[in-house]
Symmetry: C2
Subunit: 593 residues, 2 copies
């Protein structure tokens, strides 16, 4: 037996017990007469004491051991002289009687400490050492907790977890698929699922009623910092439900997770239409930890001789509470911020509401105090506030002001990682027009149902399409689609699905599929709809993202045991890699660089 | 709201309630004055009643509805006149007041009944309809239960579930990998994991102490009836443990599953060495629901003039209890059975122990009654028993007698699907010699530790190998490896791992890896062993197989929601399939049939 106890469990009440512990050397201190070693395992740290007078040979041996050596020790639990009350085991130490080195360790390439000296690449390469750091382990323990509580809740609500296949069929709609050549079917390929969407719908057709799965999904996209080629979803679907039932069920899930994982009682989740989110926040995933809503100023600012505003489609501002103290330098920096290509504004207008009520703006030449007061009034500004105004083409300006608003929220400390604000965003447009492709695309996916009131628009669009008159200007019907947004991050999204073959065919036609293409790619789903498909709806949560949010981190990578870098490489195992010619031949493929 | 209740929950106590139900038409009966419809959902079946006198229009409508139509009905719960006590809802029916057809259904290609008229291929193609059958749904609900209870047990034992990556690196050792071309790294490929073996070992190096995962694994093998290209494992690993700790922990898991899923209190799991399993059952996965052990007869049968036995390396038999009544025809059939190429014996010798104690054999010419009595004695045969004896080359004969033993077990009704017999098989050989490759292979995998007492043999083998003298005849060292066998099925297997770099290098050398090859393929693992790897051990259970065993079925396919056929095809979605030229180009590969 390697141990009688873990390194995290011994207390004063165990004093006098003979115990055996195993673990890693976190650090050691040689004080001449005494040598102390902090022994670490997953459960904690326990101090080992070696006495030069009593056990000189053992003490000599202990002095020579380096960091991260793996030890097994036998000894007696003693009350410590110098207690460390920061540590759960800090009232005791082990007076070591026997010592065995289970394994030696070379000097690690970086320190196994919270403030490690290892860079990102180095820690990725030696991920197994990075995993020894308490914060990394805590992240993955949190992930386990979130998974467990997700299952607890959904099991309690009569959901069945069903595994759907990983080797499926490639479909050109959506993001790029990873594919897998089939040896037994030469020239043919499986695809890895971007989501189990069609399978969960087929489970509903199959009468499973309530399905969920924590499931790996795959997208061959160019990676950003917070994207991984493989990621995990909480994937759910329900039958015989309306949108309201789904919102209720999954608001329940989110509340359960906050309560059990974070100990936070969540207020009921407010709702906002997509239209309002865009109008008041310039984003379909507003960070509602703080207000700072957009206020449109067109009716107040035109025809005063300021060409920028006169020419602008939209003039819109935000009121930053208590930020009138911003210096000229800070304001110049904000102007630089909004002019970055990623933000895209051409300039920034500001106005300070001074403590005495007077207002000083960067456009005093065009707007007198009285005019500025109308702005302040419209923006509900008070003494000490700072007004920030952008102008230009509507869509671009809202987008830029969204970035500015988030930046101001950050600068003013309004985006605390331990504060959580959840929001349902609803009534998304069903379709969006992509200029570069010259056609409408499904905003959520092609299986999303239009709102019943907007159904007639589908036929109207099809008629226009047939006449070659369907243009980008056509306003999309709204969808029964919803996103769960927490702290400005979209953590989940779903929709009520189409369950009628004719409507599904119309949707595919509208998206530019010929009937043959639709049949070839989604025939199995449309055929299934012929055999009594029930009304159904669902949702999927980004599990990695949800965990990182709960953990107060920005990157999902910290919550994945073995993540890949931005080129999709696993630096630790050095994958992907070349494969043998024999493998290629068996698979009936050749590399063609 | 689509329903107030499910089709499985209404009872007599609900009589008088107004309810709304949704579901599928299981069947309908038109009795003239009354029409009855059985409405089905996941939770059960409820009878709907339509009265021609009271609601003629509704009744007319109901009569026209076909099987598998999806309905929503509103009505009053009434006590039935003719109660069906077989059905949980059989004391009530719904007097329907409103009826809405939510979706129509074409006539299904096979009946949605327990005894369906649909063949295998047809049911695979329309899997979403097959899933509506109660037994198929029950199988997947059982699977959910087994998964849930597995997690409950392991969570309770402080295991952490960690997700390991699906896109990993191809390694030539073992079965064939599925590979995934990397678009971002042209000419390079990921592989799908055959198991997370190296990752779980790295998690141990990373200090995770106790890991598990229910995880999809992939093997590109030629498929047999009970193999699938993708399958699920319960994958586990522990640190600072000896073999005994692992056996104890996972015997606990199996007992927990039997108790919670099947309601069976399992006796403690007996153990058998690999050597004994081969000696007494001719198999490393003996079905221990029945005895019928092998008895070696060499010392009793030689030199009596029967050339077959005289020339045989091994003469070995089994005693089939109470089977002396077997007719000549049955015995001829058994002879045919053992002569099949898959079984491989050249003939069968039998002897009946009659009720009067006399013995009649097929080799009376060579063995008199006294000689046969020594057989009977050795085999502990009693009046009414049948002795079956095979002879020939040792290995082949044991294998054939194993098949015969299982066949006799089946014929004599000793292999009841509701009886469960668990067994640990231990002390497997570390290596096995494959004639066709002319070298030793790892029997479990290259990371398995030899038994400490057999360590010296590794050096001996390496010395012989260096001298070009290592032959197939060398008896392998034994491994600290173990299998869990239930009812003759290997449901799990694992081992104590090597955690020392030098020993791991020796193992790779013995398996024919050059140091460069070992470094290129498993360098990350051997490097990890340099930084304080703890002693560790683990196990993996075949989850699909475990579920099918619990469900009393022979095929794992019945316990997989969307299985593939024997050519690795998903007949429902028609995968794999060809992909677009554009995709191939992006991936820098070409098809080369």
């Amino acid at each position: 037996m390697y141990r009688t106890n873990t390194c995290g469990e011994l207390r004063l009440l165990h004093a006098g017990n003979e115990v055996t512990l195993s673990g890693w050397i976190q650090r050691s201190r040689d004080l001449g007469g005494m040598t102390f070693i902090d022994l670490r395992d997953r459960y904690g740290i326990t101090q080992l004491a070696f006495n030069m007078d009593q056990e000189p040979a053992l003490c000599e041996q202990a002095r020579k051991l380096g960091r991260e050596f793996v030890l097994q020790v036998k000894g007696i639990v003693k009350e410590r002289e110098n207690k460390n009350l920061q540590l759960p085991t800090g009232e005791i130490e082990i007076e070591v009687k026997e010592l065995k080195v289970l394994n030696a360790s070379a000097t690690p390439p970086f320190t196994i400490e919270e403030n490690t000296d290892g860079g990102d690449e180095l820690r990725m390469k030696y991920r197994y050492l990075d995993l020894r750091r308490a914060s990394v382990r805590a992240n993955l323990q949190l992930r386990h907790q979130v998974a467990k509580q997700t299952r607890n809740y959904l099991d309690g609500q009569d959901f069945i977890e069903v595994e759907t296949p990983v080797l499926i069929k490639s479909t050109p709609e959506g993001a790029r698929d990873f594919v897998v050549p089939s040896r037994m079917n030469p020239g043919q390929f499986y695809a890895l699922p971007q989501s189990p969407q069609t399978f969960k719908q087929l489970l509903m057709v199959g009468g499973f009623d309530k399905y969920y799965q924590l499931v790996k999904c795959f997208r061959d996209e160019d990676l950003r910092a917070d994207r991984q080629p493989e990621f995990t979803q909480i994937d759910c679907e329900m039958s015989f439900v309306e949108q309201e039932d789904v919102l209720h069920m999954f608001e329940g899930l989110v509340r359960h997770l906050f309560e059990t994982v974070k100990g936070i009682q969540l207020a009921s989740v407010p709702r906002m239409t997509y239209a309002d989110a865009m109008k008041f926040y310039g984003s379909d995933k507003p960070d509602t930890r703080f207000e700072m809503r957009f206020v449109e100023l067109n009716h107040l600012v035109k025809d005063k001789g300021f060409k920028v505003f006169d020419d602008a489609e939209l003039v819109v501002g935000i009121c930053a509470k208590n930020a009138a103290h911003y210096t000229r330098k800070q304001l110049d920096e904000l102007t630089e911020f909004v002019k970055r290509p990623q933000v895209g504004a051409s300039g920034l207008v500001y106005a300070r509401v001074n403590e005495d009520g007077s207002i000083k703006s960067s456009v005093d030449k065009f707007y007198d105090e009285a005019a500025l007061k109308t702005w302040a009034e419209a923006m509900q500004a008070e003494a000490g506030d700072l007004l920030l105004v952008l102008a230009g083409e509507q869509h671009k300006t809202r987008k830029a002001l969204n970035e500015l608003r988030l930046e101001m929220g950050t600068q003013l400390g309004l985006r605390d990682k331990n504060t959580f604000s959840c929001l349902w965003v609803m009534d998304f447009p069903l379709l969006e027009y992509l200029e570069e492709e010259g056609r409408f695309f499904a905003m959520h996916h092609p299986f999303t149902s239009p709102k019943p009131n907007d159904l007639a628009q589908i036929d109207e669009m099809l008629a226009l399409q047939a006449a070659g008159k369907l243009s980008a200007a056509y306003e999309s019907p709204r969808a029964n689609a919803y996103d769960m947004v927490i702290n400005g991050v979209e953590v989940g999204g779903g929709s009520v699905r189409i369950f009628n073959k004719e409507l599904q065919q119309k949707m595919f036609a509208l998206l530019g599929f010929s009937p043959e293409e639709a049949q070839a790619q989604f025939g199995f789903l449309m055929n299934a709809f012929e055999y009594g498909a029930p009304p159904h709806a669902g949702i999927a949560f980004g599990f990695d993202r949800l965990c990182s949010l709960f953990g107060g981190a920005d990157s999902i990578r910290d919550f994945i045991a073995f993540p890949k870098n931005n080129s999709g490489r696993d630096l630790m195992i050095d994958a992907p890699s070349e494969i043998a010619e024999k493998q290629l031949t068996e698979l009936s493929i050749a590399v063609k660089k």
